[in-house]
Amino acid sequence: MLEKALVGSRGYWRWVTFLLGVIALGVVFYLRQFSSGLGITGLSRDVTWGFYIAQFTFLVGVAASAVMVVLPYYLHDWKVFGKITILGEFLAIASVAMCVLFIFVDMGQPTRVVNILLYPSPHSLMFWDMIVLNGYLVLNVVISHVTLGAERQGVPPPRWIKPVILLSIPWAISIHTVTAFLYSGLAARPFWLTAVLGPRFLASAFSSGPALLILVCLLLRKLTKFDAGEEPIRKLAVIVTYAMSINVFFVLMELFTALYSDIPEHVSHFQYLFLGLSGHATLVPWMWTAEALAVLALVLLLNPRTRKRHGTLVVACLAVFASIWIEKGLAMVVTGFIPTPLGKVASYVPTAPELLIAAGVYAVGLLLITLLYKIALSVRGEVAT
């Protein structure tokens, strides 16, 4: 099946070459980081996790969101999703691959990373995160390979794959729950120490992931002969609407508890996020943008007319995706460190090498998606001529 990725149009090869170029640039800067240390990033003794770990957290959500097409199709027999489950699974594979790479580039001693396997420590949530993420990757590789293979042969998929697919549903929930536990179990960081973090992660995942899938389906309709059809896009839009509403609701819950209780160590983080603290206000414009985008998205999604029209639906999906990327990919991780446990208000801005390494990892993910979608569409004979 893999050979399908080796033939393609000029546009396809131009895109692949571009991605390979970005990856090469990322590798060059990663080698610099490897030899001189993580000091080339904007991280410091106060803000010890930053852009890499934030992208990891965001992408776990994108990976988990595949369940939003798999679950309705297999549990509720929503036949309309039959055509796009494979897109969801391939998106999950590429996202998990990026997650693993983002963790890897964040390691201070990457050559020792096997120590996690050599000295397994079940008391560490990072151990469990490694297990659920790799398990999820294996599940999706097996499921997509077997179902697509069957489709190619024109036969129904073997019966044993059904329980594997059913297992992948709770497993998807688990990857984002365990990732939330990484943060929400730390007494040292009041900003993350909230039981709603896990549910919030899931709600934001189930809005941003399907929003991305809608955009992908519409893009594929333009670029290729693949047409997901109107019905699945409408259903996905409804899922995005519910998930985004719940996500905004959870954010408001957190704000209420922190601000009304008025406990200084809880308030100060939100103060830093939305108003700035001691002259440090790097994230303030980003956060207000994220909130404005969330409101815009909800207005467009809750109104059935704008939700159904493709022009406005695209705007709504872009707004959902950008809003959640700012919330999780920029704010959520860094703000846990500001102010520090010693009351210091530090600042963090990613450096150019850090951003280029991250761009390289994103390019790896995009390349994977490109190749996998190319294979899926070629198997179905839906590639543009």
Binding site: S36, R45, G108, R112, Y183, A188, G343
Partner: protein, 254 residues
């Protein structure tokens, strides 16, 4: 006969599986639920810092200098890359949960010396994915710089900011490294080890030995006759962020 054997084998198999399951379950439960009593040897090394005596030596940094020299703690140009084992903090920053406004200015308006608390229930050790940091039976929270992968989860978990990461190679930050102690390499986390190398040789930690005000004492907190326990009986003492349940082994006399 054949049937008997088969059913015996089946039963034995299930029995073994259950045993193995129960075994790993207890192991797992043990890993999660470490109890207070589980401090092997009954020993629990700790420190008592007399904040009043310390404050009398205004501007003194003898303990910091002694520690830095003994352990090759570098001084780096970028403050964001700083490595700290023991240092001074403003009292309200070291003890944010103490209502310190207008209270005992002789202490609360002076800097407090801070270091790793060698918690009895250390959150850093709980989150470490490789057991590169763990609690020794005598209570010292140790670090294995050979094993640390530099994930910095322990730094996120420490409520005291007591851990430092080597963002860059520390060697250029050391004018004359002490030959008897290793430096660290870039990409690992480090912190105070209560001078495990000196303690194992029967000596007090370097900071305690260097203090001109004799404001620091070191010893076994579980021995009622030890000096640290005698000091704790004599005056009221604080522990940093005691409400978090980490049970620090560093006490501060006020």
């Amino acid at each position: 006969m054949g049937d008997d054997r088969r059913s015996f084998l089946r039963r034995a198999g299930w029995g073994l599986a259950c045993l193995a399951g129960a075994g790993s379950a207890t192991e797992l439960a043990g890993a999660f639920l470490r109890t207070e009593e589980e401090t092997g040897g009954g020993k629990r090394l700790g420190m008592v810092v007399d904040l009043v005596a310390c404050a009398r030596e205004e501007g003194c940094t003898k303990c910091v200098e002694a520690c830095n020299a003994v352990h090759n703690v570098p001084s780096l140009r970028d403050p964001g890359h700083a490595v700290k084992w023991i240092w001074k903090e403003r009292f309200p920053d070291a003890f944010p949960d103490q209502e310190a406004e207008n209270v005992l200015e002789t202490v609360t308006e002076k800097p407090a010396v801070v270091l790793c608390n060698h918690c009895d229930n250390p959150p850093c050790a709980r989150v470490c994915p490789t057991e590169a940091t763990w609690k020794r039976p005598d209570g010292i929270v140790m670090m294995d710089w050979h094993r640390c992968i530099g994930c910095r989860y322990c730094m996120a978990a420490c409520p005291y900011g007591s851990r430092s990461f080597n963002w860059v190679d520390p060697r250029p930050g050391l004018a004359r490294p002490s030959p008897d102690y290793p430096t660290r390499t870039k990409g690992v986390v480090e912190k105070c080890t209560f001078c495990d190398e000196r303690v194992d040789a029967g000596e007090p930690p370097a900071c305690v030995a260097a203090c001109p005000a004799r404001a620091m004492a070191f010893g076994d907190l579980s021995d009622p006759k030890s000096e640290v326990r005698r000091l704790l009986r004599s005056r009221f003492a604080l522990r940093r962020k005691a409400a978090l349940g980490t049970r620090p082994s560093v006490y501060y006399l006020v």
